[in-house]
């Protein structure tokens, strides 16, 4: 069964390696690289999809990678987003160097797939870098001042987070003599020490940079705004999710911060709860005051990371309880939904930027008449992000809040509910601008084929999963149950 994974890895790596040759031969067909990558990604998606239906616990590449269902869910999400980004880039990308761009996208996809399945800290670190390094280049792909600035800022912060993770790994290896995640966690539990606590917190910080957890979020709005918007989509909807799978694998099994202090308050559940509260609140409040769409989406993305963390709280608080299963199911489900909704919103913003050459919110006045499909996509994505039923985002938020609704973290549920209501303030405000305000022009704007195709698929997913969530939820909850097993 693990042959599927071999084929996928070979496909993605081979494509990444050979696409730049198209640049050398100058075939004159610039988009060819994109079409090839899209086909390869679609094939990988199909293979991993099959693979996840028949999950395996047989190790692949030693014990570095174990292709379980949980990893499959994340691999599917990240590959799906990369595919959408690739297809959108057919229209979006104007400058040369296209084969390089698609080759880098391919390597990022490979990194994310391997990261999803990693069972070993070293493997995790290597795939983390394989995922991150191409995105530093991609963020600066515009060769414009602000794009380069974003790229450098992102690269420096990214290198820092990698260093933090690497330091945590070295501590873990020193303490337990292993880099296997399960062994490390068992060692932390059986021989608690202050250093183990420090290592755990360093992991939180290192992964937190990618997951866009406050206070590790500072780079996000600048990077998302400066990067080409298709790449912002990738960062918000895919690489961020890879941060979550790393955190799920490493951090969820650790429940207490052994012996850093003796206070019983210092548990992982409390750490996650405080991070969740701060992240969603800061994200929502900052989003309300933004004047540019990409920055608004960046802060909204930060706020959503706060919601996703609620499942971590429920799981760490009482592993094995029904609330833990509901919470982690909510987390993984929200990761999927958020990838679709945020992907749709970012790509809609990308199209507006491409066609109207601006990303400030004034460009969105009267958009409902100028670009009806884009505006509708954005409206559906926003309502979904706010958690309005019966869209997909509602169900995952429902499960997340349900998992902490009655118990010691009831306050977090209340905070999440109030945050949701508050966030509608800016989501509905944008919808109001698109459909009720008069724009500077009422002239129709062209909506290119590839974008419309992606919008149709994404809106279909948001509404479809919203009406019939059972299939996806049982798929996710199977993965969660076997993970928590």
């Amino acid at each position: 069964m693990t042959d599927y994974l071999t084929i996928t890895v070979a496909l993605l790596a081979g494509t990444g390696l050979f696409l730049p040759l198209l640049q050398v031969f100058r075939t004159g067909r610039e988009n060819l690289a994109g079409y090839i990558l899209a086909l390869v990604l679609a094939a990988s998606l199909a293979l991993i999809g099959l693979f996840t239906l028949y999950p395996s616990t047989v190790p692949w590449a030693g014990s570095l990678v174990i292709p379980d269902q949980m990893g499959g869910v994340f691999a599917l999400v990240t590959l799906g987003v990369t595919l959408a980004v690739t297809v959108a880039s057919f229209d979006f990308l104007k400058s040369g160097n296209k084969p390089i761009y698609y080759s880098l996208l391919g390597f990022t996809a490979l990194g994310m797939v391997l990261l999803s399945y990693s069972q070993d800290l070293l493997m995790l670190f290597v795939s983390w870098e394989l995922m991150s390094l191409p995105t530093y280049v991609l963020a600066g792909f515009d060769k414009k001042q602000h794009s380069n600035e974003a790229s450098v800022k992102y690269a420096i912060i990214g290198a820092m987070s990698s260093a933090v993770i690497l330091y945590a790994i070295s501590l873990a290896y020193g303490l337990t003599g292993s880099t296997q995640i399960s062994t490390v966690v068992a060692g932390f539990t059986s021989h608690p020490s202050a250093l183990a606590g420090v290592a755990t917190l360093l992991f939180v910080a290192g992964f937190g940079f990618k997951m866009s957890i406050v206070p590790f979020h500072m780079w996000i709005p600048d990077a998302y705004e400066g990067a080409p918007t298709t790449i912002s989509t990738l960062l918000a909807a895919a690489t961020k999710k890879a941060g979550f799978i790393a955190a799920i694998r490493v951090l969820l099994a650790i429940t207490t911060l052994y012996a850093v202090t003796n206070s019983p308050l210092f548990t992982m559940a409390n750490v996650f709860a405080v991070l969740a509260l701060v992240t969603m609140t800061v994200g929502n409040i900052s989003a309300l005051t933004q004047k540019s769409m990409t920055r608004l989406l960046a802060y909204s993305s930060i706020a959503q990371a706060g919601y996703i963390l609620i499942g971590f709280v429920a799981f760490s608080n009482a592993p094995g309880s029904s609330a833990a299963i509901i919470g982690l199911t909510g987390t993984v489900f929200h990761v999927i939904n958020h990838a679709v909704m945020k992907g749709a919103a970012f790509l809609a913003a990308a199209l507006v930027l491409l066609q109207l050459k601006r990303s400030d919110l004034k460009a969105y006045d009267g958009l409902g008449r100028r670009m009806p499909i884009t505006a509708f996509t954005l409206a559906v994505a926003f309502l979904g992000l706010a958690g309005v039923p019966p869209l997909s985002g509602f169900w995952s938020k429902l499960l997340l809040i349900l998992s902490v609704a009655n118990g010691p973290y009831g306050w977090l549920a209340l905070a999440a509910i109030l945050n949701s209501a508050f966030s509608l303030g800016y989501y509905a405000w944008i919808i109001k601008r698109m459909y009720m305000d008069e724009g500077e022009s009422t002239e129709k704007v062209k909506e290119p084929f590839w974008f419309v195709l992606i919008f149709a698929v994404m809106v279909g997913l948001i509404i479809g999963i919203g009406l019939f969530p059972q299939q996806v939820i049982s798929f996710v909850s199977n993965a969660v149950t076997s993970f928590a097993g």
């Binding site: 609330a323 429902l398 009655n406 549920a413 109030l418 303030g425 459909y435």
Partner: protein, 496 residues
């Protein structure tokens, strides 16, 4: 298993895109199609209403039940569960009736983006039917929220000058209220010994005393916030005057006639029906809030210069009766309170719907809604004036309009709870006072010279008669609503 209620929800929702396409192609075709479809929905609603009257389900049981598993994994289960009884069937019927009348009234009053308008009306109707027929809390919440989306666009796209502000205020107020309500449901669910979101299942557990009263306080408070915003109860009402003033008149009809009923329905079905222990304990608070709302709405209405704003405050006044009546039953044990509250919701929908639609006509024909500027309607617009007088009589609860009976029942139930609440009889007096004063200034005053008359046509008069005739008929046939309402009232009284 029956599919009638699903049909009632699905038919309007499925019709919406077809109405959109038809109206885009041809305006007249679209409006006739809308009218025909809404009449079909009304026929189904009338069938449901008739069946519930013919065989009223015993307390705690529901007719036309449908139950399918929707989501289940691990320990979590959620059903698609519909049913109706003497509480919801009158509201289903009156919502379908008002939708037909609103479509008739919109022909003249709505003149742009008509395709979007008529399709949103059907989205609204389908969601409303879902609210009134859901027997699962999450399903109820979902429909509850879907109602907001068309209403947001109705106010924001077809409203008056400050429409955008009113639309945002409306959606943020009501969404905040309802998310808190949802949190209350989730808290309740996680605390139950064997968790369920199904209303009948929870009520069975309540009867077997399996749910501790201590679990009921948080959800009671949370659902109170959600329902109080919708009802609206003073001091949660501030979105309502803004929304009404800015909304186009046909939408005000839906807002006051249908949307506010969601609040009253929620209080009876959920606050009392699922948290009876805590509700009984705090019944006095609710009673007092209802009474305060009644007085506040009446006095505030007295001060309004805008005809529509006056009617909007009358709604607050009338919906206070619903809360007052419902909780009077919990205190006194007199079933008249809940019966009266259900009856009041039905009559208020028609009486206030008539007045709101009329205010739209007045503005359309006379160019203003300011009461001091409307002079001599009796001479310049005699037909409009007659409808205005009759509609006002219905709203103030003058016999032979059945609103009289509804308010009478509620007040009697209140007095049997406590003699102090007898001051509630002053509310209809104030109401009559400001309506008569309004009529004196508009209908009975001399006409301004040189004012041209644009009275409504006879076809419009016929449409308005549809609002008023049922109110007159119901005073002799009140058993149509009260008989099926009786088992509901007795059941809820028994739970407490």
């Amino acid at each position: 298993m029956s599919y009638v209620l699903s049909l009632l929800i699905a038919l309007p929702l499925v019709a919406a895109p077809f109405v959109f396409i038809a109206t885009r192609a041809n305006r007249r075709l679209g409006i006739y199609l809308s009218l025909a479809l809404s009449v079909v929905v009304l026929a189904i609603a009338a069938y449901v209403f008739g069946q519930v009257y013919a065989t009223p389900p015993p307390g705690g049981q529901y007719l036309f039940q449908e139950k399918y598993s929707w989501i289940s994994f691990s320990s979590f289960g959620l059903n698609y569960f519909l049913g109706t009884d003497g509480l919801s069937s009158p509201l289903i019927f009156v919502s379908a009736l008002l939708t037909v009348l609103v479509i008739i009234g919109s022909r003249k009053l709505i003149d742009h983006h008509e395709a979007e308008y008529y399709s949103l009306i059907f989205m609204f109707e389908g969601a409303i039917m879902g609210v009134f027929t859901s027997l699962n809390l999450i399903l109820f919440y979902i429909f509850w929220e879907i109602v907001l989306i068309p209403m947001f666009f109705f106010i924001g796209v077809w409203g008056g000058p400050r429409r955008k502000y009113a639309a945002l205020k409306f959606i943020i107020y009501t969404f905040s209220g309802s998310t808190i309500m949802l949190l209350g449901f989730l808290y309740f669910y996680m605390g139950m010994p064997s968790p369920s979101f199904d209303i009948p299942t929870i009520q069975t557990m309540l009867q077997a005393h399996q749910i501790p009263v201590a679990l009921e306080y948080v959800p009671l408070l949370a659902s109170f916030i959600g329902f109080a915003v919708k009802l609206p109860l003073v001091p949660f009402h501030s979105w309502l005057p803004d929304a009404h003033v800015e909304a186009p008149s046909p939408i005000s009809v839906l807002l006051a006639g249908v949307l506010l009923k969601m609040g009253g329905y929620g209080f009876i079905r959920i606050s009392i029906g699922l948290f009876p222990g805590a509700s009984t304990e705090y019944a006095w608070v609710f009673l007092a809030l209802g009474l305060f709302s009644m007085f506040y709405g009446a006095v505030a209405a007295l001060l309004q210069k805008d005809l529509k704003k006056m009617i909007a405050f009358t709604s607050i006044n009338h919906m206070g009766f619903v809360l007052f009546g419902a909780y009077a039953t919990l205190i006194s044990g007199s079933v008249l309170g809940i019966q009266g509250a259900i009856f009041q919701m039905f009559t208020h929908a028609l009486a206030i719907g008539c007045l709101f639609m009329l205010s739209g006509y007045v503005q359309h024909q006379a160019g203003t809604r300011e009461i001091p500027l409307l002079k001599g309607l009796g001479i310049t617009m005699p037909r409009t004036a007659v409808i205005l007088v009759l509609g006002s009589a219905a709203a103030m609860g003058l016999p032979p309009f059945s609103s009289f009976l509804a308010e009478f029942m509620v007040i009697v139930a209140g007095i049997s709870a406590s003699a102090i609440t007898a001051i509630s009889v002053l509310v209809p007096v104030i109401t009559a006072g400001y309506f008569l004063w309004m009529i004196k200034r508009t209908v009975l005053s001399p006409a301004e010279p040189g004012h041209e008359s644009h009275d409504m046509g006879w076809s419009d008069v016929a449409a308005f008669a549809v609002y008023l005739i049922p109110l007159v008929v119901l005073i002799v046939t009140s058993y149509l609503i009260l008989t099926p309402a009786l088992p509901v009232a007795q059941f809820l009284k028994g739970l407490a």
